[in-house]
Structure formats: structure tokens, C-alpha cells
């Protein structure tokens, strides 16, 4: 356990296989027979209009919302439970816990011995070493999201589900945090929901667009090159335009 905390100890994160997934809320079908696969170790961004069911899909994969039908499994055959960490739009820091204790929340909730050294190291990775003992209320929005990121990484799980984690931040803070996240999230299988085409293009290996009622997934768009990509990369700008076109087309149907 002497490796830096940003480098996870598993050799290969598992992929996620989604087969014939159906989710309904009452009479309303969110999606039906949805099937797709996320390759192990890849970073996939999921885009689409608001209210289409992206968050519902993420919550279903996280095991928070039981599907009506279908199967979610890991590509290596082992169960997915206990291998997924979730980070939402809100930082969900517990206001009565210090930043450090928020990072170690998982240990506390599972009744395990908290790993202070690892939590402190992770806080240092996201630039919050100095604020470990502060209460969340004293942090700025960007700091709070970084603390939430450290808490997500502390869970030490190969699969990460991120629901617009950076959407509430200003453009500069967001760009910085994206770069940090891209490094810290290497060697994880990541599914990221975002409304920001730029964010999707900078961070991910593959883009998926969700459209329609009930929702379906468009063909995957592969994004070549190493992440995080520079925001002024011409290829990235082209792709961003293409993506925006698709999103606009999708929202008309």
C-alpha cells in the first residue's frame, strides 16, 4: 500500500454490460430494452436533453433504482456491487463532518477503520490538504466539489458513475478540476453525465447521446487521443460542433 493514492491497486477495471434494461416510473417508460457496453478502463460521457433519463440510468446502474427488467453485469463476471462509487451533481458533503471525515465517510458508514493517511493524501491530490479539518460550509463551491471527488476516490472502486459533478462551477474552476479529474480517474471505468459538450470532448474516450421518449442511445462516437485534451485543440472543437449538432437534432424529435 505504498503506492500513491491516485494510482489504484487493481490491474484492470471491469467493463459494464447493460442488457435489455427497462425502467418505468408508474405508466411512464423512461427507457426500454436498453443495451450497451462500456469497455473496462474507458471514460464514457453520456449526453442528452434534460429529463431524458440520464440520471435514472446512472442510478439504476448504481443499484439505487431497481429496473423493471434487464441485467447489469461486469465484464469480468464478478458482481458489480461494492465496486461502484457515485458522485452526484450536489457535493453532498455532510455539514456536520470535517472535510477529512467527509472523505472517510464510506469507512464510517461501513464500520471499518478509517484510513487517515490515505484520506489526507487524497485531499493533498485535490489541493485541499490545508482544509482537512475545516467544515464544508467554510469552503467555496469548487473546493467542495474537490472534497467530494476525494471522497469518491477514497472509496477505492474501479467503476465510477459521475452525474454532472462539475456543472455548478464557474468556467475556470471547472476547467481546472476537469484536468485534475482526468489524471485522478485514470485506470477507472467511468460513466460521466454532462450537459457540457466541451467537458465531454475533453475528458472522454467515447461519447453517447441519449434521445427520445422512451430514451434510446445513439451510435457511440469515439474520441481519439490522450485525455485531458487542450480546450483549444482544433480536432476537439470540430468534434464539439458535431456533438452539438447531434444534440440539437436529438432534442427536436
Amino acid at each position: 500500500m505504498n503506492a500513491p493514492p491516485s494510482i489504484p491497486s487493481w490491474s484492470q477495471p471491469p467493463g459494464i454490460r447493460i442488457e435489455n434494461l427497462t425502467l418505468r416510473f408508474g405508466d411512464e417508460t423512461v427507457f426500454e430494452n436498453l443495451s450497451f457496453e462500456i469497455e473496462g478502463g474507458s471514460f464514457v460521457a453520456l449526453l442528452g436533453p434534460s429529463g431524458i433519463g440520464k440520471t435514472s440510468l446512472l442510478k439504476t446502474i448504481a443499484g439505487l433504482t431497481p429496473p423493471v427488467a434487464g441485467c447489469i453485469s461486469a465484464s469480468d463476471g464478478a458482481p458489480l456491487a461494492h465496486r461502484i462509487a457515485y458522485m452526484g451533481q450536489q457535493d453532498l458533503l455532510f455539514p456536520w463532518l470535517s472535510v477529512l471525515n467527509n472523505v472517510m465517510l464510506g469507512s464510517r458508514l461501513r464500520g471499518e477503520k478509517p484510513d487517515r493517511a490515505r484520506a489526507r493524501a487524497l485531499l493533498a491530490e485535490v489541493g485541499l490538504a490545508e482544509r482537512a479539518d475545516a467544515l464544508p460550509a467554510t469552503l467555496s463551491g469548487g473546493m467542495r466539489q474537490r472534497a467530494a471527488l476525494a471522497r469518491t476516490l477514497y472509496e477505492h472502486r474501479p467503476v465510477l458513475l459521475l452525474d454532472e459533478p462539475f456543472s455548478a462551477l464557474d468556467a475556470i474552476t471547472r476547467a481546472r478540476l476537469q484536468e485534475r479529474a482526468a489524471e485522478l480517474l485514470r485506470n477507472h471505468t467511468v460513466l460521466l453525465i454532462t450537459h457540457d459538450p466541451m467537458e465531454a470532448c475533453r475528458l472522454s474516450h467515447q461519447l453517447r447521446v441519449m434521445t427520445g421518449y422512451p430514451a434510446t442511445l445513439g451510435e457511440p462516437i469515439e474520441v481519439p487521443g490522450a485525455t485531458p485534451r487542450a480546450p483549444d485543440d482544433p480536432a476537439l472543437l470540430n468534434l464539439q460542433a458535431e456533438l452539438l449538432k447531434r444534440l440539437l437534432a436529438g432534442s427536436e424529435t
Binding site: 448504481a62 452526484g88 453532498l92 455532510f94 465517510l105
Partner: protein
């Protein structure tokens, strides 16, 4: 510090103004002292009766504190039980409503009949008065834990017991704090009503006796001590709640 001085000065000014109005009304309408004694009469009664007022105040204080302690314990336990065991809600809710709906005035004679003239009946009366606000506010707080916090705890594979202890309970503390404040403010009602119905000590007992002998100045003196007691109690509980809930209120955490 400057603030505290200001608050003290303002309180004093209000108090002095009130005393002057009081004295003015008596002089103006020539109210006899057995109907409404003047501030000086009440002050004299306070001084001459100080020993008896002090010892009776201690009786009432003990009743209130015991009632508060047990009431908060039983109320918090009820709220926790209703949160942890869902079927209990349907069974306990009616009990809770009834505990609030039956006026304590109607119940006090029965309590004295059952538990005697001593402290027990007053402690139970105070308990009954505060049971509902404590249980209702705490239960509400426990139920309204942000869905986001619960989802997060769920993805961290927390057991329901740990979620209750580490998530729901602290998240419900602000609501519990409001319940405690209300409880501190109304607990004296229960104790005093219990004393009025039948007792051998306490400020209610002093008032009852003085009232029967038309010693109106002593009734006012006892009321004054009771008011001081109530304000002090509320201030202490308020401090305690602020210390317990040290984090600032959050907004928009689902």
C-alpha cells in the same frame, strides 16, 4: 460584548417602562391592592417571602427538569422507533395525537389521583406537555433526510442501522433542536398545572394558597419568579441547542 450590553439595556428599558405603566394604571384607576398590587407591593412580597419562594421554586424547577429529561428521552425514543420500524408509525401516531389533543387541564386531576400529591404527578404532566413537540419535530427531521445523502450512503453499502445513526440522526438534529426549544418553553405549563390541581410544594402551590387568601401580591411574586425561571431555562436550552448544532444550516442539499 457591545451587543450583550445593548440587549441588557433594552430589556431593562422595557421592564422599567412596563413597571411605570403598571403603577400609572393603579394610581389612575384607584385599583385596590387585593385586585392588582403595585410593583412596590410585589417587590415587598418577593423580599419577605424570599425563603419560601426560593424553596418552592426549587421544587418546581426539579419537576420541570425531570419532566424535560424524561419527556425528551421518551419522545426521542418514540421518534427513533417510528423511523426504524415502519409498522410502528401506524400504531404510535394515534397515541401521539391523543397525547396532544387531551388538554392537560383535564388530565391533571387524574394524574394527581393516580400518582399522588408529590412530584411524580407534576413530572408526568410536564412530560405529557412536551412529548408531542419533541416526538413530532424529531420524527419529521428523521423522515426528511435529504434523498441525496441517503443515496450516497446507499452506494457506500451502509447498513440501515448505520444510516440511521450516522446520516438520519445528525441530519435531524436541527429539527430536534426546534422541538427542544418548544419543549423548554412549555414544560413549566405542565408542572404548574399539576401543582394547581393538588400539591404540597412548588410555585403553583404558593400561588394557589396566596390566591385563596387574597394575597394577590404574593401571587404576582410567584408569577414573577416563574417567569424568570422560564426565561432562564429557555436561554440555557437555546445555548445548548446552538452548541449541539454547530454547523450552519445547509440549503439545497436535496
Amino acid at each position: 460584548m457591545k451587543n450583550a450590553v445593548l440587549i441588557a439595556a433594552r430589556s431593562l428599558a422595557i421592564f422599567a417602562g412596563f413597571l411605570m405603566l403598571w403603577q400609572a394604571a393603579i394610581s389612575l384607576f384607584a385599583i385596590p391592592p387585593y385586585l392588582l398590587p403595585g410593583p412596590a407591593d410585589v417587590a415587598a412580597a418577593l423580599w419577605t417571602g424570599r425563603a419560601s419562594l426560593w424553596s418552592n421554586m426549587l421544587v418546581t424547577l426539579a419537576e420541570i427538569l425531570l419532566g424535560l429529561g424524561f419527556g425528551v428521552l421518551v419522545g426521542a425514543a418514540t421518534a427513533l422507533a417510528m423511523t426504524a420500524v415502519k409498522p410502528l408509525r401506524r400504531w404510535l401516531m394515534p397515541v401521539l395525537i391523543v397525547s396532544q389533543a387531551i388538554p392537560i387541564f383535564a388530565l391533571a386531576p387524574l394524574l394527581v389521583l393516580w400518582f399522588g400529591f408529590g412530584m411524580a404527578s407534576k413530572v408526568i404532566a410536564a412530560m405529557l406537555v412536551i412529548y408531542f413537540p419533541v416526538t413530532a419535530t424529531f420524527f419529521d427531521g428523521l423522515r426528511r433526510t435529504g434523498a441525496g445523502l441517503l443515496d450516497l450512503a446507499d452506494t457506500m453499502n451502509a447498513s440501515p442501522t448505520r444510516i440511521l445513526w450516522h446520516v438520519r440522526l445528525p441530519a435531524a438534529l436541527p429539527a430536534f433542536g426546534s422541538g427542544l426549544r418548544v419543549a423548554a418553553a412549555v414544560a413549566p405549563i405542565g408542572a404548574i398545572i399539576g401543582e394547581w390541581v393538588g400539591s404540597a410544594g412548588g410555585l403553583g402551590f404558593v400561588m394557589l394558597n396566596a390566591n385563596a387568601r387574597l394575597q394577590t401580591d404574593m401571587v404576582f411574586a410567584a408569577l414573577f419568579v416563574l417567569a424568570l425561571l422560564a426565561v432562564a431555562l429557555w436561554a440555557i436550552v437555546d445555548r445548548l441547542v446552538k452548541w449541539l448544532i454547530f454547523w450552519p444550516p445547509e440549503t439545497g442539499q436535496g
